[in-house]
Symmetry: C2
Subunit: 383 residues, 2 copies
């Protein structure tokens, strides 16, 4: 029996994890489940899985939660500190799947208990990478990546030593505009950008896929998860998204992980690791697929990956600033305020202007994030 | 320092292994080196690497070896029993790279010392699979496969449990006739058959690649190396031979090993396992390759893989009979005595006629091999 806590149980990753646990009830025991404000949904999950405690991040939803949990014998709590306390409850595996900066403190609390933390929160490694990895080392925690690319790399590293790695290659679908000529990109609309070819995703991440910022942010995460030096991290455009990422070793062997575009595959991997568990995902049929294609990324049309690589190289606050500036720019693009090609241009400008210091604590990270957002809005002001 | 014995040091696999050891002298110490009759070449290797003993399988070459080793302080010996004694000398890793039935007894002696045996001899698993794997289990030896496909599978299994495997897929180049229509195959000449598209190989194995017997024999080997049930072993035609094989797990994850068509990659893998060592092989550049293609094998044009699967299913002496019959048929094809399409037909006929008992010992295997060859020649007699 593996004792599991799901932080962000009503989100997409949390729901997929609970669906897999539902299909393998004998192998898991729920410790804590959390949500932001969906009290009724959370209460139903807590009851179904017999969790010890259910927590809403939004304190104003606590009375709803109390009501929904009445008579269940399951504890209920609310607010940011209750979230962190839930994450600190002893568990064998904590799935940190709260999105955005709200997920940082709970993820940190999970790491500080020195257990295995399956990380699905992007900010934890993009904005707070140095702070988080220092905590992982200090507390002897184990980080398992949930993102399909990083989970692929994690799988390709099994039984191997990071010291033997020659390079790591992240695959990128290239997004919906991968075949568009440069001059057409300025006219790309939000509706066109959110039509991702392979994955069904939210608007923000779809735009990130279209600009290639998504891949650049993953490169920053990979830099923290697999510290082999950023110059050994590569990107290849692979429109079919069947190979999720690859690791090349010093002997010339490359290991790749392939699979369906279904988050249940990497989630099952972290839930069962180092073993495996069943998923209802269909087997891979390469003969039916027929071909897998590859091309080098075009950093002229899509400068995002270059900017992310420069942010990794610069270190300090640069990745957090880049992430915040990108979020503001993407929101402006989705609101029809700036053209597609200005997203990367604004991010570059904010990065160039920023003199924010390197964050040393989570509070610093959140402060840098806020200041960078303000700076980004200022830079875009004339729009 | 890893103490290594190379059985078959002057062959292609042995020479590649010694080339890699030459580039990493600090990590290896040679125990024994053996050859069939190339005494001068073997003596030079024994001196270069400071081996403890050099052995020729062909006893009549022993006087040449003694002469060539004079004053070196290195032991010299000759004959089949000297080969087996060399294989029985304590070593951390024994590379069993003697081709044909002559390699069986030395491979068995290596296994019987319960050490790690890197197996490059095909007959050991095709003809003597049950006998060899029983010895591996009895003596607690570890088998590492050298063949690029099986080594790929071995790499894809690292850190995983065979019980979690859903299927294993061997990739096949499809050989030089993969796009030929059925009616043209009967006219295929030996010269056309030995032109392998991706690997530089000998005539016999090139014909096996053209008939797909090569892949079928690998399926038999995979059945012994990775006992997941033959119905879970698959073959996919992949003309570029970049993916060397794949393992799919119960969660829907597939791990694949990719690399150049260079035997030094799998040889380096077994030499350094469970770590890695440098090779001079160029990095993989998927963007330069552009595409990888896949298709289902056509068992109407190429019935060999079906025959091999049936031999695995039948068990007993069937795989040894199939292997022997194929060798005789390929020799007849290369000599211009039978058409290409009769190779599989003759193998099927010999298999159907054979009532040979299951081999229980290596001597049984060698007897079955001889009887099956005689039977194959008889079946082909009218030709």
């Amino acid at each position: 029996m593996r004792r599991v806590t799901v932080l962000g149980a009503t989100g997409s990753v949390g729901a997929s994890a609970l669906d897999l646990i539902r299909r393998n009830r004998d192998a898991f025991e729920l410790v804590a489940v959390t949500a932001n404000c969906q009290a009724a949904e959370l209460a139903a999950l807590a009851r179904e899985f017999g969790a010890e405690i259910a927590v809403v991040g939004d304190e104003s939803s606590l009375s709803d939660l109390h009501e929904a949990m009445a008579g269940s014998g399951i504890e209920a709590a609310g607010g940011p500190s209750a979230l962190a306390e839930a994450a600190a409850r002893p568990a064998d595996l904590i799935l940190a799947a709260i999105v955005g900066c709200a997920g940082l403190a709970p993820a940190m609390a999970a790491i500080e208990q020195g257990t295995t933390v399956a990380l699905a929160n992007k900010e934890a490694l993009v904005s707070a990478g140095d702070v988080m990895t220092a905590a992982v080392a200090a507390h002897g925690a184990t980080l398992l990546p949930v993102d399909s690319e990083h989970n692929a790399i994690h799988q390709c590293l099994a039984g191997n030593d990071l010291a033997d790695v020659r390079s790591i290659t992240l695959t990128a679908s290239g997004g919906p505009f991968r075949d568009w000529p440069a001059e057409r990109l300025a006219q790309a609309t939000p509706a066109q950008a959110v039509r991702h070819p392979n994955w069904d995703m939210g608007a923000k991440i779809s735009v990130d896929s279209a600009t290639m910022f998504n891949k650049g942010l993953e490169l920053i995460e990979a830099h923290h998860l697999f510290p082999i030096g950023h110059e050994r991290l590569r990107i290849v455009v692979h429109p079919q998204s069947v190979i999720h990422s690859m690791v090349e070793y010093r002997d010339g062997s490359t290991l790749a992980q392939l699979g369906p575009s279904d988050m249940r595959v990497p989630i099952a991997n972290v839930l069962a690791w180092p073993r495996r568990m069943d998923t209802p995902c269909a087997p891979l049929d390469l003969a039916a697929l027929g071909e897998l294609t590859f091309r080098a990324p075009d950093e002229v049309r899509f400068p995002a990956t270059r900017l992310c690589r420069e942010a990794v190289q610069a270190g300090g606050s640069a990745p957090a600033v880049l992430n915040a500036a990108n979020e503001v720019a993407v929101a402006a693009f989705l609101a029809g305020q700036i053209p597609f090609t200005r997203i990367a241009a604004y991010v570059a400008e904010v990065l160039a202007r920023s003199t924010l210091p390197a964050p040393k604590t989570l509070a610093d990270v959140i402060a840098v994030d806020g200041q960078a957002r303000a700076m980004a809005r200022e830079v875009m002001e004339p729009v």
